[in-house]
């Protein structure tokens, strides 16, 4: 009934997604402590915040009606967990979690990683600034919860990439297809990634991004430039796309999910 979406963007919050509108009388909950749960629920309702779907986070307001997404501050959960505990209540309520996948989004600076991340999460892409450090978002897609890590591509930051390799289920490597001058640089970076021990066997999806630009190289040319046919130790795929228009993005993610399912690589 409730799906539990752990807040990944802001570590001080936990987000709870509600699939179905909530009613004040929670008789449907098969809960031993139903009365307690109810009172707790009533008691806390006004203290929860709701984010309007697709709305700006600034516009959070105290909620008075069943929300689509509940955001509960950790500090509040802690204060509640002493008596009965909102946390334990929510633990009881959450259904079996989706399979979680850890996806790493890498590539040179200005390849379009953050735009791709925002496009995956259906967010506004018009205010993007260069990434210092990293961004992370979790996206729900056909029964999977994708935790996508977008790490800055600036030369200075590349040495930090390796800190994020552990437990990666899929690598997405983004290329600016219009920046032919840097094909060599990007192919060296990719080759180094593929030799990393911690990424052994991890499937790799290559997005030939910026296909909306007239001077973009077609995917076949990118594949040749990067010598992708030389990859034999893992499954790989090249997908032409434009993060700006959204074209081709979905197909790439579908490939990732498809490679996950049969091999059972997704971890609980």
């Amino acid at each position: 009934m409730w799906r539990f979406v752990k807040g990944v963007k802001d570590p001080s919050e936990t987000k709870f997604k509600v699939d179905k509108p909530l009613t004040i009388s929670q008789a449907e909950y098969n809960n031993n402590n139903q009365n307690e749960a109810q009172t707790n629920f009533k008691h806390t309702l006004t203290n929860w915040y709701t984010k309007p779907p697709g709305g700006d986070s600034i516009k959070w307001r105290t909620c008075w009606k069943p929300p689509d997404v509940l955001v509960v501050r950790h500090s509040y959960l802690r204060s509640q967990s002493k008596d009965m505990g909102l946390l334990s209540l929510l633990r009881k309520l959450k259904s079996a979690p989706d399979k979680e996948l850890r996806i790493l989004l890498l590539g040179l600076d200005n390849a379009g990683k953050t735009t791709l991340l925002k496009s995956l999460a259906s967010e506004d892409i018009s205010h993007i600034t260069p990434t210092q450090g990293f961004n992370i978002k979790s996206v729900q897609s056909s029964g999977f919860k994708l935790n996508v890590w977008d790490i800055g591509g600036q030369r200075k930051i590349r040495p930090y990439w390796r800190n994020y390799f552990e437990n990666t289920d899929a690598l997405i490597y983004v290329i600016d297809s219009a920046d032919k001058k840097r094909f060599e640089e990007t192919s060296i970076e990719l080759a180094e990634l593929l030799e990393e021990e911690k990424l052994t066997g991890v499937p790799v999806l290559i997005y030939a991004n910026k296909q909306d630009l007239i001077n973009a190289a077609p995917a076949s040319e990118v594949a040749q430039g990067l010598d992708l046919n030389g990859i034999r130790d893992r499954s790989w795929q090249i997908q032409p796309c434009s993060a700006a228009t959204g074209e081709g993005v979905k197909e790439g993610v579908e490939w990732v999910l498809k490679t996950m399912k049969p091999s059972g690589k997704g971890r609980k």
Partner: protein, 299 residues
Amino acid sequence: MWQQLWRFVYLGLIHPLVKWILHRLTGKCELQRILSSKECGARRTQKIEESLEMSKHKELRRILQNDDVNVEEAVKDVMRIKSINPDIDTKFHLMMTKCLHQICGYKELLRVIEITRKEPYSSDNPKHEILLLQLWGTLCPDDKLESRISKQWGDIGFQGDDPMTDFRGMGILGLLNLVFLVTKHTNAAKQLLSHSTHPQYGYSFAIVGINITGLVYHLLTGGYLKTHFYNAIEGRPTLEHFHGVYCHFFWDFDQFWRDEKPKDIMQFNVIKDKYEEKMKTKLKGDKDAVLKGVFTQMV
């Protein structure tokens, strides 16, 4: 549910009733009461803004909706609709004019900023190129830029050989902000640049600068900067004022960043979000808040 009902009852019945009773008792309309009871500043101007927004008169609500409002005319309209006698309430005209200038000025600033932000950096535009070279020349007067496309841009914290690609969603606004900082506050900018080379607490000066533009832009569009502008500036806030606020935030964030003692640059977004939250709370919570300092004073 109850809150919704209460909101409905309050806005639909109680609030107008209270206004009506007070109007009868004091002989003044809500706008007059706000102007006479609140000191000049964000408290007063934001109350006036709310009052206009909730007004039952379309003409009054339109003052907030329209672009390019003629303030003189608008004040006359208000006095006509509310039948305010300038001989009895002698200060009304002046005070209302001030408030409307602040309110409309903020909206005007929003438009200007939006236009500037949407203008992408273009290498074919000589004005853009001059600004970019000015940025380098002022920040590093002793080092000659070898060519327009150069690894040297990395020294002041751009990502690649051509800064063009780094402006992205902030467009020319990001560049104007940086150029204002380095030309008007050259010493402060150089100090920031030297902080940015710290082995542990270092960062990329230029792209952090562009991220700060993003932060200030979000504070502006979210209405958070109203508190500061209404308190600090009597008239209409301009692009210069925006630049001043930008410099303030860059300087202040740099200090916040170092105080947080980050492990490495990868902590940037976490700390930036924390800082943004802090500033939002400050500007929303304290109606007397002003961003004090050299950067916001001079303009």
